[in-house]
């Protein structure tokens, strides 16, 4: 079942020109796409390609200027739906420090359910469950600003999970993290997906895209391609056009193949190295 559907969606920002006139700057234009329930979808593209605008359209933070966004069959343009939609779509943003509302971990995670008017006993249960899911149970009483970037983002994910959404949108949530933090967050995302959560991962790190079911490529406010990771990585012309690069190992294996050396195309640098060694021995 399609949980998120965008039908020819456009959004423009107000732009203030140097001469004082007000024009418009494109956010996204004519975007049509859908996300299947339970899928792990990556949305990639360069800075300013409209990824984050698209994310904000998904839970009604922005309402499309034209076209229609539906979440679980509900139109985001209808004000009466907005809380139902936000209950379904949990969102985690880029800067972990700017999404913490409380100075104690458990109170931050409780913020969502408190807003929904969940009874006190159930809030405690939800908070514990959410922290458990992101592997941060032992930090219940800590203050978020003493945690690492990856841990903070896991708390932010827990905050979204406490609302019990069907979809988790990670809007460049790994962009500000070190490699270790990125790994932590991705592992949590994949684990949640394995338990049935639909995940939409917005990123510009191509390595993060490898294990996704589907990749959507954006450029200049448009969706320019969609497919499995290997389809996207093999489309060199497309990657060139949008200024993205396949992960190193894939690129290398592609080059080896085109040079007539018979190795398997793969993303795992270690395995590729093994392959190459094998070839050299022969």
């Amino acid at each position: 079942m399609e949980i998120i559907k965008l039908d020819n969606v456009s959004y423009y920002y107000k732009a203030y020109n140097d001469d004082g006139s007000v024009g418009s700057a494109m956010g996204v234009e004519g975007v049509t796409l859908s996300v299947e329930e339970g899928a792990f979808v990556a949305l990639v593209g360069h800075n300013g390609c409209g990824k984050s605008t698209l994310a904000k359209l998904l839970n009604g933070l922005l309402i499309p200027k034209s076209g229609k966004v539906t979440v679980n069959g509900l139109d985001t343009a209808d004000k009466n739906n907005i809380f139902e939609i936000r209950k379904n779509v949990g969102m985690v943003f880029q800067n972990p420090d700017n999404q913490m509302v409380a100075s104690v971990v458990e109170e931050d995670v409780a913020f969502g359910p408190e807003n929904l008017g969940v009874p006190q006993k159930e809030i405690v249960a939800r908070v514990n469950e959410a922290l458990e899911a992101v592997g941060m149970s032992e930090y219940v009483k800590s203050s978020p600003h003493r945690l690492s970037g990856g841990q903070k983002q896991r708390i932010a994910i827990a905050g979204a999970l406490a609302i019990r959404p069907k979809v988790l949108v990670l809007d460049e949530s790994t962009a500000m993290l070190d490699p270790l933090g990125r790994k932590e967050v991705l592992e949590v995302a994949h684990k949640l997906n394995a338990n049935g959560m639909t995940v939409l991962l917005i990123t510009h790190f191509m390595e993060e895209v490898l294990d996704c079911d589907r990749v959507i490529v954006m450029n200049g406010g448009h969706v320019v391609a969609a497919g499995t990771p290997s389809e996207i990585f093999n489309n060199a012309a497309l990657l060139d056009e949008v200024g993205l690069k396949a992960p190193r190992a894939i690129e290398l294996s592609q080059k080896l193949i085109s040079a007539g050396i018979d190795v398997a195309q793969q993303s795992d640098a270690r395995a590729l190295g093994g392959d190459v060694c094998q070839k050299l021995k022969n």
Partner: protein, 287 residues
């Protein structure tokens, strides 16, 4: 460098006072602050001091931490004491000055015993006020204090005062202080790296040097505020309507015992104040 300023003065420990309900602590502190103003004599000040020291002992906060709070008002203390010594006249016309000095005609500096007494009492009053309120902040986390304020202000909802929003602003401020401090630190370092000079020159020059810190901080603050608003909206925030709260504040036996003791003590203080000058046998209390 500022890191720990943010946690206010909270002194983590487990004690009778720490585990009391923050609302009760806040109310009892208020009672203490008001009660101090009804103390009229050194003897009663002595009682109050002993009482406060007992509370500090029970709270397991080192006396040193409590005394540190006085450091901040030392100038004020000395100034008020000095002014009172020199400007208080005798208790009645019959009192002659303890010491007088007339540097020129028509201007005399006089010190009366009454002035010394008044200065001493005001000094004690200020010291006790500050120590008393720092017992509250030393034994209660800022988060608990916020919750206590929210809970105690609830009746104001009747006059449409936005209690929840007020408390939310308080707690957001608390949670953003550390990251704003980090950012200030970063901006200062960035500006220093570009040759900004914060340490030399006169007052005006130094004040001006802070403009390149304040402006990026302000701009960053607005950006943060917008991101925070998005994050809060995404988590279904819609103001106080139908909102519940995870934290339950429960009154326990400690709160009952503490309230009883503090209220009884200050009832005594108030009674003494009301009967001042009436019964001879307590006049010694008014020395």
């Amino acid at each position: 460098m500022f890191r720990d300023v943010t946690f206010g003065q909270y002194y983590p420990a487990s004690s009778f006072v720490h585990s009391m309900d923050a609302r009760v602590k806040l109310l009892l502190t208020l009672l203490f602050l008001v009660g101090i103003f009804f103390v009229q004599s050194f003897v009663v000040y002595g009682f109050v001091a002993v009482f406060l020291l007992t509370v500090i002992f029970v709270s397991r906060v080192p006396l040193r931490s409590v005394l540190r709070s006085i450091k901040g008002i030392i100038v004020l203390l000395v100034l008020t004491a000095v002014i009172n010594v020199f400007f208080t006249k005798g208790a009645d016309a019959a009192e002659s000055p303890l010491w007088a000095w007339s540097p020129w005609n028509g201007f005399t500096i006089e010190i009366y015993v009454n002035g010394l007494k008044t200065a001493g009492k005001i000094f004690l009053r200020l010291v006790l006020l500050v120590m008393g309120s720092s017992v509250l902040t030393l034994t209660t986390t800022p988060v608990d204090l916020t919750h206590a304020v929210e809970s105690l202000l609830k009746p104001l909802k009747l006059i449409k005062f936005p209690v929840h929003e007020f408390a939310l602003i308080m707690s957001l401020t608390l949670s953003f202080i550390p990251s704003l401090i980090d950012e200030t630190d970063r901006i200062i370092r960035a500006q220093k790296a570009r040759g900004a000079d914060f340490d030399t020159g006169g007052l005006v020059k130094r004040a001006k040097a802070f403009v390149p810190i304040l402006i990026p901080l302000l701009v960053g603050g607005f950006r943060r505020a917008e991101e925070l608003a998005n994050a809060m909206n995404s988590r279904c925030y819609e103001g106080a309507t139908k909102r519940t709260c995870m934290r339950v504040m429960k009154l326990g036996w400690r709160d009952a015992v503490a309230s009883l003791l503090v209220v009884a003590f200050f009832a005594g203080v108030f009674v003494l104040y009301g009967m001042r000058g009436q019964w001879n046998f307590i006049t010694w209390l008014y020395y």
